[in-house]
Symmetry: C2
Subunit: 197 residues, 2 copies
């Protein structure tokens, strides 16, 4: 196989979920029938890697200093949702009807990895709270050990700023069968059972 083709197949493997076989299929597909879209993808990808930075206000991905979500005048300014990463922001934005503000930590508290309050931009978050508009902070960090520790820290930060902290509800996933729910979640959901009256 040609050197350049081998290089392309190898480079495609940086995409998540793409192994050697899919990478080869992708390379051949582009070369055999879609060179124009391949060219376009290469150009957009280079530009995105180079130009997409982080919003100075919420730290979400943005190629402008302030992102479109932060710049929007139609979103609720009393609620701020804190997430670990842009992926989770996108998931919430797409799955829920939430129309408030966001703050992206770009990580979670992890002292061993050198991730402290400063790296997560918590000074900037404190400034946001000090502006006085925000009334509720929805803490949407992941339900992992580090995510929970981060949530705990954020809740203290919120209270110190006179902001009400809330946390996503834990429980049995919709459509999930009890049999396959992990024991911790099941125990929590059982203990937090709610009245149907």
């Amino acid at each position: 196989m040609s050197k350049l083709l081998t290089d392309l197949i190898e480079a495609l493997r940086c995409l998540p979920g793409v192994g050697g076989k899919s990478a080869q299929r992708m390379a051949f597909h582009l070369l055999e029938r879609d060179r124009e879209r391949g060219q376009r993808l290469a150009q957009v990808m280079a530009q995105a890697m180079r130009e997409i930075g982080n919003c100075s206000r919420c730290r979400n991905f943005s190629e402008t200093p302030v992102c479109t979500l932060c710049a929007s005048s139609s979103r609720d300014r009393q609620v701020l949702c804190v997430v670990e990463s842009p992926t989770e922001l996108a998931a919430i934005e797409q799955a829920t009807g939430y129309r408030g503000q966001y703050f992206v930590l770009l990580g979670r508290l992890s002292p061993l990895d050198g991730l402290g309050p400063e790296e997560l931009g918590l000074d900037r978050l404190a400034e946001r709270l000090a502006e006085g508009e925000i009334e509720e902070m929805i803490i949407a960090t992941n339900p992992t050990v580090e995510g929970e520790a981060t949530a705990h820290y954020l809740a203290q930060l919120a209270r110190a700023g006179n902001v009400r902290p809330t946390r996503l509800a834990h429980g049995v996933p919709l459509g999930g069968e009890l049999e396959f729910v992990d024991r911790g979640t099941l125990a929590h959901a059982f203990g937090s059972r709610q009245s149907l009256d």
Copy 2:
């Protein structure tokens, strides 16, 4: 979501097997943790789309006038395998121990699509045969209606050039259960049953 990010997600969908959800996952993955490899992929992809052409001898993908397979002095020059596309050449090269020459049609005879002998480079193939080195032409077009018609045409071309045409064997795929083999294949395999003595 930012314009550039939306563009990247949309552009990634040109990859086979990549829908909206995977495209979004890929874009976030590259931006969040693999920008360098994303840059490299963009660069290699642009170069491959621009520079990979076809070998002047076998029409396989190549960024040099003559590909490495054709240039190799260690491959058998008496056998020529004819395939429809570079994908199939790669499949044969990877699955079999074949060490002969190739010729890639870049299509199959399809008069309604304007694909005739000229578009498939059959004049060039005839010249190869006329060189006198080739003794066997392995016809490995796909077992479709058009692939079979192409195989028929190629066999005539081979015979006219005093070359022995052969065709890949049809039959029940290894590891396939008879129950799930299509009727045509099953009938053919039954009719072509071979003695075990």
